[in-house]
Symmetry: C2
Subunit: 453 residues, 2 copies
């Protein structure tokens, strides 16, 4: 997917200048660079003009100055686990890989914070301190990096408790396309001394600045979490139980929805064990921690069929039912991974109606839906039968827009959804985005094919 434009290799003088900045071994072209042009799902393929692997913030700044002077467009890339094609060079841009910025400071237990380079994985942040954890918990945490997770404002499995990546930011260091380094890493809980540009960079998909480091909030590691999977008749029952869980289970960490069809595929193709002896149409996974969590969950579900796990192995088994859902559509074909959100009171409408609107556009398509019910978020994976010419997105995104929703809850716009952004944002907002963007990146070299310019 996505047009691969003719790649013009940067002139040799420019490549030599990059090599002088970061060392020859870290300026890749040709075959050595090709791997950086493909996202992990294989859905987005481009050819990088070059791959730059700076080893420090100063090297990032020098590299960006060279790119701006040469008019060379740049796609910043972290762990390359994005799902919207925003981190691969679909139009022959250079890739600026932040993987080498992988320094992780000592956690400050008093502030419950740590400073991490852009290339540090979320798993390393989660493991940084004894008794501490990271609030953002996504399936790709072992390879997704701090920089990429900030650029896409990653959400995941514990947003209802800790918020998305933006809410974890206690400071940031970033480089503008003119080489300006802005840094604010002291780790203040409160700081009203001007504009909160860290919050703006969160979710900006590499279009405003290149994040090189962040000061991150850590959270107490939840003691003895309890995981439960309830089998339910329909999406309305899932929503109602999740709403009650939010009110009645103080230690709630996650509320995750999935269905029987995906579970059956996982059982058959990946050997995932079903959670309940008798299958249910849909499921709600709840996880909670702290004193009374097990009792609270038991009181909540009442006589609903439920599997409960407290040991790590049993919890992992239940979580596999939900966390391996992103693979389901891949077993069935090439997946369109859509990711939408609606206001809370519209979630049931979304979850029950989405298969129908897809069927109207492509009767042979299969829809696997799952996700973060407490956030009004649904991951809609579509396996098309008809050509993937945009008709599926048209159907799903128009439906979501009609419900007052967002065409991207947590994956970002990237290349995948650029066409449909006006469904979620007004012309006035899009014009403001362009104004903000020009202020940060007047050279127009940062991820130019992502978000409006």
């Amino acid at each position: 997917m996505g047009p691969v434009s003719q790649v013009t290799a940067p002139p040799a003088t420019l490549l030599r200048a990059f090599a002088q900045v970061m060392g020859e071994a870290h300026v890749l072209t040709g075959d050595a660079a090709a791997g950086f042009g493909v996202d992990w799902t294989g859905a987005f393929t481009g050819s990088p003009a070059a791959v730059l692997r700076p080893g420090s913030t100063a090297e990032v700044a020098q590299a960006l100055r060279l790119c701006a002077d040469a008019g060379l467009a740049v796609v910043p890339q972290g762990g390359n686990t994005g799902l919207a094609g925003g981190g691969v060079p679909l139009h022959g841009e250079a890739v600026l890989s932040l993987a080498r910025l992988d320094g992780l400071g000592a956690p400050d237990p008093e502030a419950s914070q740590v400073t991490a380079g852009a290339g540090v994985t979320l798993q390393r942040v989660a493991d940084a301190g004894r008794g501490l954890d990271f609030g953002v918990h996504i399936a790709s945490r072992a390879s997704a990096t701090v920089g990429g997770a900030i650029a896409t404002n990653a959400g995941g499995l514990r947003v209802l408790r800790y918020g998305p990546m933006r809410a974890q930011l206690r400071g940031i260091e970033a480089v503008l396309s003119d080489g300006t380094v802005v840094s604010h890493l002291a780790g203040l809980v409160k700081d009203n001394t001007g504009y909160d540009y860290p919050s703006l960079l969160a979710g900006s998909e590499g279009t405003l600045a290149v994040v090189t480091a962040a000061r991150l909030r850590l959270v107490p590691r939840a003691p003895d979490p309890v995981t439960a999977v309830a089998g339910l008749p329909d999406a309305a029952a899932v929503h109602e139980l999740a709403q009650r869980a939010m009110r009645e289970v103080p230690g709630l960490l996650s509320a995750e929805f999935f269905g029987q069809r995906g579970l059956a595929v996982l059982a058959e193709r990946a050997g995932v064990a079903p959670p309940l002896a008798v299958p249910a149409p849909v499921y709600l996974l709840l996880e909670a921690a702290g004193p009374g969590a097990a009792d609270d969950l038991a009181a909540l579900v009442g006589d609903v069929p439920v599997a409960v796990a407290v040991t790590a192995a049993d919890r992992a088994r239940l979580w596999a039912c939900r966390e391996r859902h992103p693979e389901v559509a891949g077993f069935l074909g090439t997946a369109l991974k859509l990711d939408v959100a609606v206001p809370a009171h519209r979630w049931v409408r979304l979850a029950t109606g989405v298969a129908e609107v897809v069927a109207a556009a492509d009767p042979g398509a299969e829809v696997i839906a799952y996700g973060h019910v407490a956030d009004g978020n649904l991951h809609v994976n579509v396996v098309p039968a008809a050509p993937a010419d945009g008709r599926h997105q048209d159907a799903v995104f128009s439906f979501v827009a009609g419900l007052g929703g967002s065409i991207s809850a947590e994956h970002g716009i990237g290349a995948l959804k650029a066409r449909w952004l006006p469904l979620s944002r007004s012309p006035a907002e899009l014009a403001l985005f362009a104004r903000i963007r020009r202020a940060f990146d007047p050279a127009g070299i940062l991820n130019p094919h992502v978000l409006p310019r």
Copy 2:
């Protein structure tokens, strides 16, 4: 404080145009306008060129277009409870009062959200729904408004639990100086469809856009809170107990510091009853709610002298010791209200050292310090003996900057701290602020004397 420049009244044609937009009764000049030129403490006094009181977002947009065309500078004003002079026309600007935008929607219990006009007080938001509360709890909540609280990113007494105003934003409506209305009020928990300008507007002190409405997160009303005031020997003991409270009391809502000197003034001048029979040098007020809160607090304080309150009247009596502290310096003279924050591990250094650095600059000055210990935040109220020529700010802010801190934790920069902003922000950051500002307000009419241009 602050120079009052010669006020040039807008030409009669412009005043007539304003009157056509919002009605003659809502365009004030002369004596009728004067009250809008003074902040509630009386520390900042200006003379508005005119006062505009639009009654709708559309009227705000029309008024701003007229101002931009005429080059008339505008100070947006909410409840006028700011503490940094950012909401009064110190240089003869027009005041744009948002007080009439006081519509409050019905709360959505499922989403736990409400839409409020910029002129709605925080108290009304807190009272909007049965069983619901607002996460931002500040002393001035009965008159502080949603718009002003967003513009200053107000913090207050429950930041450790719910975060500041920025963290409550689920959407915003705002008007740019060219009359563009940007609106995103659907109330989505997750929405990664472009730049998060609501977060940027939070704390922007009216310099980027005029906030006209917001979609706000509501929180469950804490059932049966317990309030405790512990008497402690020194700031180190306060910090240590607050740190333990954050770890060991899951229902913690507030952790507030104050000292015996302020308490003695309040007892003498305002009849506030002391919390303990035997005075202590310093105090920590803790409030917690939820099952086990009373037991958790009792276990935490151990054999430290403590007053505990559970009835509303008793809790109010304990809270008065802390919430009336902002008045203390006013009883002693004209107060300089400084508001600083440092990283957690530096708070004791700040709390113990600040009186000394003030004494070095002005041996006769009195310092009353209190505040939000869990946030690394200290309100430093100075009653000068020497001329208030900036020496007190120099002393306090330089000390704070040396500790890696912020010269404004929650009040903003306004007019009071503009000179010292470079102590907290690098030249690169200040230059970025100016770039952002020009993108939002190319006409340069929004609060032009606040924050760098």
